[in-house]
Symmetry: C2
Subunit: 185 residues, 2 copies
């Protein structure tokens, strides 16, 4: 609800009063939960990271990655699940707040950035594992490949139209193709 | 200057008074040029698109793309020049404003979105040309490939550290590799 408000009005233009009114709380009631707007933004960003971690990381970990086929299946599933999180209409209000440019206070920013970094490292490991199990050296390094993959997927929210030719299914297939051939092929 | 202010304080939290003070203009003087903050943001975004068009599109068009080698050189140069625009310290204040989430009034938004679309179409054509001249059908379609490329490059500003292991040179080489193998390979 607060996330929707921030997106409609802009984060900086939304006051604690606006948030309290939208949540049908008194200002005192809202301050009981959050001491500042920054804390609300941090809470939304944490929630967005939690959604990503639960859907993508937990989903991927359910696959046994011991064999080459298993490791490839993990990477394939990672691409699909991450795209689904970005495109999920229920979660979009929350997840898009991860890209809010407003600078958080250093302590809160470090926590969120740490979680974002952990996610990129997870992607890196999944990629490195496929490369290793394929056994042929690749000119593409896992850190660069992970940033490329996370970038192409996270950027989708900038241009995606639900009624466009690039449907979720087509996008999953195309991005999987580009990335598999490009980074581990 | 206004761009730097918007980034430091957040777009919505910056007033016309703040901008006038930073530019050492009277409020009347500022309003003589821009009728609203939205117009200033639109002006900055237009400037960012102009930088991208001049550096990338004009640079690429200088290469003769008639042969396969020429078409490949165009794509290679496009990747390098676009990464350079994103990483350019002088232009970063301007170009990062393209990602400002603040909703512009519909008329201004349409103009900027039209220019962004034209850029993606240009990328699409450069990719399609390489695929066509290679003569072997690709499972990857130019529209999906163009969005993937623009996404992986534009996302760089989210994580890039000038003193990190992924230097501009390494990044250009790695992203070129990923994209050439993945989308036209």
């Amino acid at each position: 609800m607060a996330a929707r408000l921030f997106q409609q009005r802009g984060y900086d233009a939304t006051s604690m009063n606006d948030v309290a009114a939208a949540l049908k709380l008194s200002k005192g009631g809202l301050y009981h939960h959050f001491q500042s707007k920054d804390e609300i933004l941090f809470h939304i960003m944490s929630h967005a990271m939690q959604i990503t971690e639960q859907r993508v990381i937990n989903g991927v970990r359910r696959i046994d990655g011991a064999t080459l086929a298993g490791a490839e299946e993990r990477l394939r599933l990672l691409i699909r699940l991450h795209i689904q999180v970005v495109l999920s209409p229920e979660d979009r209000e929350i997840t898009v707040m991860l890209h809010e440019n407003h600078p958080l206070p250093p302590g809160l920013r470090r926590k969120i950035n740490g979680r974002k970094k952990d996610y990129v490292h997870f992607v890196e490991h999944v990629i490195a594992d496929v490369q290793r199990k394929r056994g042929s050296p690749s000119p593409v390094t896992p850190p660069a490949a992970a940033f490329a993959l996370v970038g192409m997927i996270n950027w989708i929210y900038q241009w995606y139209k639900p009624d466009g030719l690039l449907t979720e299914e087509v996008l999953v297939e195309q991005f999987t193709n580009i990335f598999f051939r490009g980074a581990v092929g």
